[in-house]
Amino acid sequence: MANTTIYEEDVLIKEQGFNDHFHDHHHGDKYQTNFIFHYVFSMDHKIIARQFLITGMIWAIIGAAMSVVFRMQLGFPEESLAWIKPFLGKWIEIDPTTGMGKLVPEFYYALVTMHGTIIVFFVLTAGLSGTFSNLLIPLQLGARDMASPFLNMLSYWFFFLAGIIMFYSLFLSTGPFSGGWVAYPPLSALPQASSGSGTGMTLWIMSLTFFVVSVLLGGINYITTVLNLRTKGMTLWRMPLTIWAFFVTAILGLLSFPVLASGFFMLIFDRSLGTSFFLSEIFIEGQALDRVGGSPILFQHLFWFLGHPEVYIIILPAMGLVSEVMSVHARKPIFGYRAMVYSIMAIGFLSFIVWAHHMFMSGVNPFLSNFFVVFTLIIAVPSAVKVFNWITTLYGGNLRLNTPMLFAIGFVSMFISGGLTGIFLGNSAIDIQLHDTYFVVAHFHIVMGVAAMFGMFAGIYHWYPKMYGRFMNETLGKIHFWGTIISAYAIFWPMHYIGMAGVPRRYFSFESFDAFKHFADLNKFITIFAIISFALQLVFVINFFYSIWYGKKMKTKNPWGANSLEWTTPIEPIHGNWPGNLPVVHRWPYDYSKDEREFIPQHIPLKEGEIGDH
């Protein structure tokens, strides 16, 4: 059946497709004259997607390696870390009498800060949304490329520049920024307060400012492309859930990142020009500063006005990818397509009015918290709807349990586990006890760290053939999946218990507190699994790069039997995506197992009396 379908598809596009005269002008190819413009300064969305992905992977390895180092300090404080000295130099302090090597506290905090910044922004924002929005928006919508390929290229290169600056800051003699990824002033504003708040912070803030530029250039492109470049017949209600997710994500980014940028500018002014937006009544290093009238809490408002939408900027694309992957491999329509879309929109809207739930204990008026508790817990409703819909998508399906599908199922498990703990934290009364403890660390790592990574892995394994014309290895994929889900739970589940015992996060050592020091066993356990988990990600990296050249070749255009348009493009990618006409869309993307047919791609015309939408 597969062969006839493909034949049918080609003919359909050729005969009934939409001719936009793209190939009459050849304007697309003029950018691809040589290696530099083909692979480096490319304006082709598929190349840019791969650039985002591989850059994101490099950052993911750096960010994860950092977590392994600080986990060693936490899990094995009595063991010598002298053997890392050749890599970290002066940041490992050797006790001259015992020969014990210990991480320097300043660098511990720098590692924690960089780990957060890198993973949140470079990996889960750029690496996830940047990769798949670029790859899938034009392909799934039937567009030749992004609305502005040039801005799209700039978006990547601003991200690259941001990365270079951040990377450079790792090697400063005063260390990279070490005041936490949230960069609360006055700690982040005053070089006297911490060695990382000097040049390290200057570079951090520069880097992230360029990163904001990157997100905005990318976001405006995604939105424009979704709104203007859909092929004929691709109404909004016929877009795959991936596109809905990327679309809402881009809107969130466009509305929230500028607020962060304004906060950054004020912080730069406070640092360099002597203003007092965030500073007031400070006495530090034996000196009373001449700064009054500012409010450190203002920065927290600005930061979390981005920061909370940011967690949805991370998780929505993962949700979109999972919905698509799950539906394809369950051979079943995603359950409640419209409910899924409305949930994405509801989550997107609510994400803008919950930011102060990060600040219940920050000294804002307790009365204010009432509103934020209500809105925060309302988010649980659309989130729950999504979970039930995913589970029901599995119900009655014909599941192919390959690696992308396993990661999609793993995503749902992680999203449930991490989402439920959000109900504790969103309730301000319980948050008094849990705020800034390991419970929070467990919550957000599971719900937006591991879950988003799982969504990303599902996407990579699923669309790998589209990106590289080959498959990733299944056995290694399964080792990667089971190893990762087990070690991820082994790392983060015990953190709930440590948090429920009241142990605060961002502690270099627990030894001086009777209440916190009795969890050495759990900390060891967590560290061991962190190392295992890191090693398993290397299996993925090997699989990824090995398969680019030696993976099993993709022999048919549509190996998964999927409905969306990206699988109608040639195996060998071309600029402009479709060789001749653009496909015309007649139906929604989830006609799986309908009318005795396993799948009906979107460009297949409706039979008489058939409905194209749901």
Binding site: G363, V385, V387, I391, I416, S417, L476, P504, S593
Partner: protein, 502 residues
């Protein structure tokens, strides 16, 4: 060399990984792709169920195993009144989320197994079901409403507005890199003003404003002293920071609030268990009956060394993890005894020094009262039969420089003298004026005579019979200290009262 070996090992591992991967492709070549897929679905489906069972059992068992170390369970129940309500909301949320967690996981992994693709199986076309979707939108909405309602009622009770009519103990915690300064409001129950510009690390590390009279009786704890608080009493902690953000965190009391420079915050709580009571509660659990120090098996048990702790819970720099203070909850009586033994910071360190704005300008009512008491005792001493001296130093009698005009403050001392003089009809005294050696001796002689007379006149005009009094100037002839230092000269300028007859 080590690196070479390390790289060789990594390379070898990579090769092994790739070889493992190749097995799949070989298998699919031998057995056919579809066969491999079906086999794979079976294996993975089974794995999914095994994982689900192990995971859920592991979660529940480990939670049970660690419950005694968690706040709110086992011995670590709340030590504050509001904490019980928080723990209860936590548990209600835990029940709801626990049910959802277990059910959704069972469905997720069971469906994964049940609906795996097998030979001849097909999927159903089941795209939506409005009724079902309404139900599972409504249920979470109702549960959330319930949790929000409970949470918010508790939340708003935890942050009441205290008025002056409420009885509470007020303390202030000031965080700085990397420790806490603790200040008690003292007898007046009010903390004095602070200003960061007045901070002087040697003399006034909090920047207390001495011109605010509420500061005068404020108590500042020493750097490592325990924070002592009474049980069953409302405590309001005013939380401030000197340099960067900190967070006042008392885990056992479920108290947590950021310390923000320039913006004082507060937290109100009521301790319900003294440290001793809490230790007693811990002593019933075997894990608390072990020696506190594993290297000292005969030493005190863990429960005996338990202390409530104050920690910082907002990243504040490299020493964030070390901002520990001990909190001790005692009975009200013990607290009162402890409080009485504490000295006001101002009175011990600032009073009558160059930094004291009231030096020579004002006496506080408690000082006047105390001096009255003291003067009575001094009179009693010189009037007793075993007296070794017959002279009392009128230490609060001052004159304007170079003049015989009494300062305003002197009348408190002299009024006391009037009272005592009038109680003893037969007593006669001589008022002696003394100066230091600055200036001309004859002039000093004259000045001391005038000053003594000035005191005499004040006493007469306030009702002491003139016959009981005489005045004499001694000039600079009877110094009590060396005249070479300003402090010494200060002591030598004085007015004395000598008993002539009892």
């Amino acid at each position: 060399m080590t690196y070479l070996i390390a790289f060789a090992i990594i390379f070898l591992l990579a090769v092994i990984v790739i070889q493992i991967g190749k097995v799949t492709e070989l298998a699919s070549k031998i057995r056919g792709e579809e066969e491999v897929e079906l086999h794979n679905n079976n294996t993975q489906g089974k794995w999914a169920v095994i994982f689900m069972v192990v995971f859920l059992v592991g979660c529940i068992y480990s939670a049970y195993y660690y419950k005694n170390t968690m706040l709110g369970y086992g011995p670590l129940t709340s030590a504050s009144e509001h904490g019980f309500e928080l723990d209860s909301i936590f548990n209600v949320t835990l029940i709801f989320t626990g049910i959802v967690f277990v059910l959704t996981h069972i469905l997720l992994f069971w469906y994964t197994y049940k609906y795996r693709k097998q030979r001849g199986t097909k999927a159903i076309f089941y795209a939506h079901d409005t009724k079902l979707e309404m139900i599972w939108t409504a249920i979470p909405a109702i549960v959330m409403t319930f949790l929000v309602a409970r949470g918010l009622v508790a939340w708003n009770n935890i942050f009441p507005t205290l008025t002056d009519q409420d009885k509470f103990v007020e303390i202030e915690a000031t965080g700085y890199q990397f420790a806490w300064d603790i200040r008690y409001a003292g007898a007046d129950g009010k903390l004095g003003n602070k200003d960061f510009r007045l901070i002087d690390l040697a003399k006034n590390s909090l920047g207390m404003d001495w011109t605010d009279e509420h500061s005068v009786d404020d108590i500042v704890l020493g750097g490592t002293d325990k924070i002592v608080l009474p049980v069953d009493t409302t405590v309001r902690v005013r939380i401030t920071a000197k340099d960067v953000l900190h967070n006042f965190y008392l885990p056992h009391f479920r108290v947590k609030m950021d310390a923000v420079p320039g913006l004082p915050t507060s937290f109100i709580f009521k301790p319900v268990k003294t440290t001793k009571e809490f230790r007693q509660q811990l002593s019933e659990y075997p894990e608390w009956q072990v020696p506190a120090d594993p290297n000292d098996p005969t030493g005190p048990k863990r429960w005996e060394t338990f202390e409530y702790e104050l920690a910082c819970a907002e990243l504040c720099g490299k020493g964030h993890y070390s901002m520990r203070r001990i909190v001790e909850i005692v009975t009200r009586d013990e607290y009162n005894v402890w409080l009485a033994s504490q000295k006001s910071f101002y009175m011990t360190n600032i009073r009558n020094t160059a930094d004291d704005p009231y030096k020579g300008k004002k006496l506080f009512s408690f000082e006047i009262k105390a001096r009255e008491q003291e003067l009575k005792t001094e009179f009693a001493k010189v009037l007793s039969d075993s007296a070794i001296t017959n002279t009392i130093l009128l230490k609060h009698v001052f004159f304007e420089t170079g003049s015989d005009k009494l300062s305003d403050l002197s009348k408190h001392e002299l009024d006391n003298v009037v009272k005592i003089m009038n109680e003893r009809a037969s007593m006669k005294v001589e008022l002696g004026g003394h100066t230091d050696n600055v200036g001309d001796a004859a002039m000093n002689q004259e000045l001391s005579q005038k000053r003594a007379s000035s005191v005499l006149n004040y006493l007469i005009s306030n009702g002491v019979a003139s016959a009981k009094l005489s005045a004499r100037g001694y000039g600079q002839n009877n110094p009590v200290e060396s005249n070479d230092t300003p402090e010494g000269r200060d002591k030598n300028r004085r007015t004395e009262l000598k008993i002539i007859s009892k």
